[in-house]
């Protein structure tokens, strides 16, 4: 079984409003698949279709080889789900609530709940209504991960979490992947997904407008380079820099016999590094590529062209 999820020509209408207009994608088993898109693009609707919470108007879905409509409780026990708008209530402790979800999901290894709660810094003895939004989110993550499901469907998993806990979450995703679990997660910003995902799909207005591997995006992405050199005339340095393939937006600043040049570079960085090696550098900054910018420039064009 190569695909953990496959969706073909998925459409969904609510009354007269069509929210999904033919969504197609496949998530390879054992991979981390991120869906990004603005709010209202259809991420949550797509995820709810996977769990048979809502039913698509047309199209086919296979989750772990089964149609979610027919899979029933047996299929959903093999999935861990975190809703996008998590709402937990009740005058019970976190531990009691998790015991309830444990009773209606797949088997949870002993000690697993405490281990996850400790990692995320969650106090299970507190009453749910006294928990902050971030702590409720942690509780939601624990219930999704605790039975080590074959597939994790996580809608905006890091919302409300502070940066340290986000890092821990990314570690949990990597470990889940290492264990062979498949992760399908969504976000409205790419920077969140790029840290963990192998593949990124961009959903906009109810359509998948692009599916890219993160490494592919990284290669295609534009970096910013800035360096200061001495012992060479500024115009000479500029000439050498512009000679490197993929370089653009060159700017230069001369001061006291040194020249500070900045530019953007797309594609392979090897020629740039070779050129830089020939200079006497006093400072060098090569920034991490901003994938977000890369995606935005790639798909700022009208949808028809992007497809």
């Amino acid at each position: 079984m190569a695909a953990a999820i496959s969706a073909k020509s998925l459409t969904k209408e609510f009354g007269r409003r069509e929210v999904l207009h033919g969504v197609d994608f496949e998530v390879e088993a054992g991979s981390v698949f991120g869906v990004i898109g603005p709010n209202g693009a259809g991420k949550t609707t797509t995820m709810r279709c996977l769990l048979d919470i809502i039913r698509p108007t047309s199209g086919t879905i296979r989750v772990l080889g089964t149609d979610p409509r027919a899979g029933g409780p047996e299929l959903r026990r093999r999935i861990g789900y975190l809703p996008g708008e998590l709402f937990l209530a009740g005058r019970v402790t976190g531990r009691t609530l998790l015991a309830h979800y444990e009773a209606i999901s797949g088997p949870v290894p002993p000690g697993r709940v405490d281990q996850l709660a400790e990692r995320l810094g969650l106090d299970l003895t507190r009453h749910i209504r006294k928990l902050s939004k971030g702590n409720k989110q942690k509780l939601g993550l624990v219930q999704a991960f605790m039975h080590q499901p074959e597939l994790l469907v996580l809608d905006e998993p890091t919302s409300g979490l502070d940066p340290l806990v986000q890092q821990e979450f990314h570690a949990m995703v990597r470990e889940a992947k290492h264990r062979g679990q498949t992760i399908f997660l969504s976000s409205h910003v790419l920077s969140e997904v790029q840290q963990t995902a192998d593949t990124v799909a961009i959903l906009r207005d109810g359509r998948i407008i692009a599916v890219e591997s993160v490494s592919g995006l990284r290669e295609g992405a534009v970096r910013r380079v800035r360096f200061t050199t001495s012992g060479i005339a500024a115009h000479d340095a500029v000439a050498r820099l512009t000679g490197v393939p993929g370089v653009g937006h060159v700017e230069v600043l001369e001061a006291d016999g040194t020249a500070t040049l900045s530019a953007t570079i797309g594609g392979d960085i090897q020629p740039l590094v070779r050129m830089l090696a020939s200079l006497r550098l006093t400072d060098l900054v090569l920034e991490e590529p901003d994938l977000e910018e890369a995606v935005l420039t790639m798909y700022a064009a009208p949808q028809e062209e992007a497809r």
């Binding site: 609510f14 709810r48 769990l51 048979d52 919470i53 809502i54 039913r55 029933g72 409780p73 047996e74 959903r76 026990r77 999935i79 789900y81 809703p83 708008e85 998590l86 709402f87 937990l88 209530a89 009740g90 005058r91 019970v92 309830h100 979800y101 009773a103 209606i104 999901s105 797949g106 939601g140 219930q143």
Partner: protein, 265 residues
């Protein structure tokens, strides 16, 4: 894995609410029934009731207030007890599916290894058991006060009246559950449950006024249950069967409706 996980959560996590309603009903019982020897049974009271407009005594079912069973029927089972039980049942019924969906919690529950029909049935069972528990509390307390308050109620009649009392509240509660499950809105469920109770009560009160509007009694669940004063005269068992049967049908309808539609959309 434990049996009936959804029932257990719905039943046990609301024990404070159940206890609160039980205390409220107990307070109503201890407020009304011990007063019977000094109010209901006295000649003075009978004179006062005779002085009231007959339409009013009929509407309030106070025409039988001079006897212990009639007094218990009119004040407790027919009025304050009916009101408290109905509010409890309707609020639980509306929260069971519609309220849970509206708050966003039903989505997460359905994403787990449960069937929708199972969700409705287990939560309806929790509603049923809580209503039966409250009715049992009422029955036991009335029986305890039967001697001291000189009510003279027969045990068989009291048990029969309790079955009708529970059935009447359950009908409003299952109406709330059903409409909540069909619409996904707690408020619609509350409105439906309240409508069944209030219209039933009003149709009974108006229907008793004249022959011309007697047909209203036929569509009043309140009148089905209490038309022959069960505390005094014993239960009308076919009426009890109707109340419980319609409740069961409403639960089935709720399960079918939830099974067929999108949740949280």
């Amino acid at each position: 894995m434990t049996a009936l996980p959804l029932f257990r959560r719905a039943f046990f996590d609301t024990w404070r609410s159940t206890l609160g309603w039980a205390l409220g009903l107990a307070a109503a019982i201890f407020l009304y029934l011990p007063l019977y020897p000094s109010i209901g049974g006295s000649a003075q009271m009978q004179d006062m009731i005779d002085a009231l407009p007959p339409e009013m005594t009929k509407a309030l079912n106070y025409d039988q207030i001079a006897t212990g069973p009639g007094y218990t029927q009119a004040t407790l089972f027919g009025l304050l007890g009916f009101l408290l039980m109905t509010i409890a049942s309707v609020s639980w019924g509306a929260a069971a599916v519609g309220g849970d969906e509206e708050s966003g919690q039903l989505e997460l529950t359905l994403a787990h290894g449960v069937r929708r029909v199972q969700v409705v049935l287990e939560r309806a069972l929790a509603l049923l058991l809580r209503v039966v528990l409250l009715a049992a509390v009422v029955c036991v307390l009335v029986w305890l006060l039967n001697g001291p308050a000189q009510l003279g109620i027969e045990l068989g009649n009291l048990l029969g009246a309790t079955v009708l009392f529970a059935g009447l509240a359950l009908l409003s509660g299952t109406a709330a559950l059903c409409v909540g499950a069909v619409t996904g809105r707690r408020t619609y469920g509350l409105a439906a449950g309240a409508a069944v109770a209030v219209l039933g009560y009003v149709f009974n009160a108006v229907g008793r006024q004249s022959k011309d509007v007697e047909w209203l009694l036929d569509v009043s669940p309140y009148h089905w249950a209490y038309g022959n004063s069960p505390v005094a005269n014993g239960a009308d068992w076919p009426a009890a069967a109707w109340l419980w049967g319609i409740s069961a049908a409403l639960v089935v309808l709720a399960a079918v409706a939830l099974e067929r539609r999108d949740v949280g959309a």
